[in-house]
Amino acid sequence: MQLRDFRLAALVALILGSALLLRAPAPAGAAEPKVRVELLSEVASIAPGETFWVALRQEIAPGWHTYWMNPGDSGEPPRIEWALPSGFTAGDFVWPPPERIAVGPAMTYGYSQSVVLPLAVTAPRDLAPGSRIALRGQASWIVCEKICIPEEAPIALILPVANGTAQPDPRGAPLIAAARRSVPAPSPWPASFTASSDTVTLTVAAPGLAADRVAEVWFYPARWGAIEQAAPQRASIRPDGVTLTVARGPLSEAVAAPIDGVLVMAERLDGGVTRQAFTLRAEPRGPGGGAHALSLLRALALALAGGLVLNLMPCVLPVLSIKAFGLVHHASERPAVLRRHGLAYTVGVLASFAVVAGALIALRAGGEQIGWGFQLQSPVFVTLLAFVLFAVALSLSGVVVIGTRWSGTGQALAGRAGYAGSFFTGALATVAATPCTAPFMGVAIGYAVTQPWLAALLVFEALGLGLALPFLLLTLVPAWRRFLPIPGPWMTRVQQLLAFPLYASVAWLVWVVSQQAGPRGIAAALAGLVLIAFAAWLHGLVRDAPWLRRRVASVLALALVVVAVALGVLAGPGAAARTPASSSAKSEGWEPFSPQRLAELRAAGRPVFVNITAAWCLTCLVNERVALSTPAVEDAFTRKGVVMLKADWTRRDPIITQVLGSFGRNGVPLYLLYPAGGTTREPAVLPQILSERILIDATKEVL
């Protein structure tokens, strides 16, 4: 009781005191200050070691205004010079969204009438309960109407140290809470910009905004220089987001770095217009974009390296082994013939990559949000891919010998059909490569899809060239063939062994189908596999039979394959629409990702790990098994309070595609570790191939 009375008395004294201070004449001869200030506190007492909010409240004379953190083309933000007791620390202001105040050719950003500017103060641990603490400082600001006046005033707050938890201040707490609620929240949408010589175009990937409901959009830059602050901002609201075009600012280097600022959007609701303010960071992209943008040359180099590594991926290696063994067998063949095979294979790879690139470019031009491996979002494609890989696996197992001529197990590598065979091996290698993402590839393709079609095509072709290169070089440079092993019975065994990664790939693809198309999809895929196995057996059975029997068996086998394909095509899409979006997103410990949830958690100061994955992404699944779900990593995450969000890209999802895009990526996996404590800190982008060590080190480093 007594304490409460004392507090009340302190408060009254404080209010009277600060009122008296405010009555003191401002310097520079001004008769009456244009702004009255007061230091508010959300607490009526201080708990040792706690952080609490105080605020500078400005009551501004009618017609006058003070300034935002970026005052615009003139003016100056208010500041406080603190004289705090030892051990106390004060943070920076957090800024409610400003108003626009146009003055002739200049634009300024500021506040009129009244504003509460909160800031956090942290008390030291060693405070004696019951003692009184004086938080003092000198506030200074510039206030303008037609003319500008610099003003300053001492501010002070005297608070007792609480015995237990701090009590809220009945006057300050609601004012500060209201001000903090109005402070812009981090944008839930990724943003980027392009700059031409005259304009800056800001793109905020806010899908699904209704154009007729948006009353106003304005971007307030956090710093001067990147955009012309007084220039009109031309907004267009499209289904995939908002673009703002504005005259470029005078500071040329400002568009080489990300542009920070506050986006204010006014939305017409049933009851009137509501204003929403978001902080956002727009990353430079495309022409005029600076340091962050990848050069074409670098993208090509990365693509080439990625293509080379693709050769070693479990989905590609067995397919290539067919070709490689042919080469071992025929190392003594005429160099010209081998060379032609190498070239035919390369052309096959490049042509297939051109088809993939063409499809990707065409679909993107049509406004689709897709990326590498987009084909795998279709259960039909996944089923058919499983059939193809299964057939190749059966061939390696020796159940059937498909196209003896091109696989090169028996007859000559030479011959017209042989070159066609090499061409189609190239195509097959490309098809087999689609589920795999090699290191370096993600960055290169992420770059490619944001580029004009020619650059995009070049990047894809560089990737293809990388894939084709090892085999091509072996055929082009006879000397290197000396390193090839001596042919022998061991080759059959290795081929049979290499069938198993393919069977594993098939099993995995069927599992992907189960995610996409449910039980019906699996049934169709499995039935198709049985039919293909039967067709293969039939084909092999009659290999040495007379012509007619061979012909009948071939027709029958072909019919079986057609039935299998038909099953895959018919069962896939119908079922796809009905199954729930993502079952894998609900797995243990993971929350489903949404930009809103991420923004919420970051605003709450939580560290967040974002795992952008897809059921059809092998690398993703491996990472989850060997790294993400291990006890050591789970333990590290738990200890740091990391919230784990999983974004499932198994099916096409424009929001996730945009998140990927904002990191210059166009495919999964993408792993982001957002540090705790604030929304301004950048996330760490982890490697595409994870290990326990990488995750634990990153957790230690970042958090």
Binding site: G63, P105, P150, P232
Partner: protein, 215 residues
């Protein structure tokens, strides 16, 4: 919003015609127009009256380095630099080295900083300033051509007539006189570079100060 616009507008007009209708005020709000002055391109030509009564053109100083200083003697940011003699010292240094220094006043009649030619000359004398000439731009034509938004707002034109600097006088955007010593003076640095025939290291900065009191 309308109230504020109204009060500013009436002050700007300096007439006190409070009866002006709000819709009219909004329609009269200044439209943004791209300025023609851009660092790295030719400084736009202008002609305006000096306090001497003669007309002065930028073209009169072809082949010479020219500093343009927008000012408003009552602006606290301008006073920071004149009360500390910072601006005068820079003027003396520049003109002593053969640089042309033109002080421009774009305040419209009835607004802060507007002066008649004799008042302007008196200010020059009492403040012991040493510009080559003080130019009066009460219509704001020259100021808007250069995109001058602040007082002080500084520009440098090199001997070839190219605009090589636009922005603040220094890196301390405050009204505190104690910030003058120790500040990085962008204009002095730029003048040294131009005199040495070198490119200006910081050619564009954010000008700080009071808004120019255009009509």
């Amino acid at each position: 919003m309308i109230e504020r616009a109204l009060s500013r507008r009436t002050f700007l007009a300096g007439t006190g015609l409070a009866a002006l209708g709000a819709p009219h005020i909004l329609a009269a709000a200044p439209a943004w127009a791209a300025t023609t002055a851009k660092v790295g391109t030719a400084a736009p030509a202008f002609t305006t009256g000096a306090t001497t009564g003669k007309n002065v053109s930028l073209g009169d100083y072809k082949g010479q380095i020219v500093v343009l200083e927008w000012t408003n003697h009552d602006c606290p940011y301008v006073r920071k630099h004149y009360d500390t003699s910072n601006m005068q010292a820079l003027q003396k240094e520049a003109t002593g080295g053969g640089v042309i220094w033109l002080t421009l006043i774009s305040s419209s009649p009835g607004t802060q900083g507007y002066v008649t030619p004799p008042q302007a000359d008196e200010l020059t004398a009492t403040r012991q300033a040493s510009p080559t000439a003080v130019l009066l731009d009460p219509t704001g034509v020259v100021g808007k051509m250069y995109g001058a938004t602040n007082t002080p707002h500084m520009y440098i034109v090199d001997k070839t007539g190219m605009l090589v600097y636009a922005g603040a006088i220094d890196d301390r955007p405050t009204t505190r006189r104690s910030d003058v010593p120790g500040a990085q003076n962008y204009v002095r640095e730029a003048l040294q570079s131009v005199a040495a025939g070198q490119p200006v290291k910081t050619p564009v900065t954010r000008a700080y100060g009071c808004t120019v009191k255009y009509a």
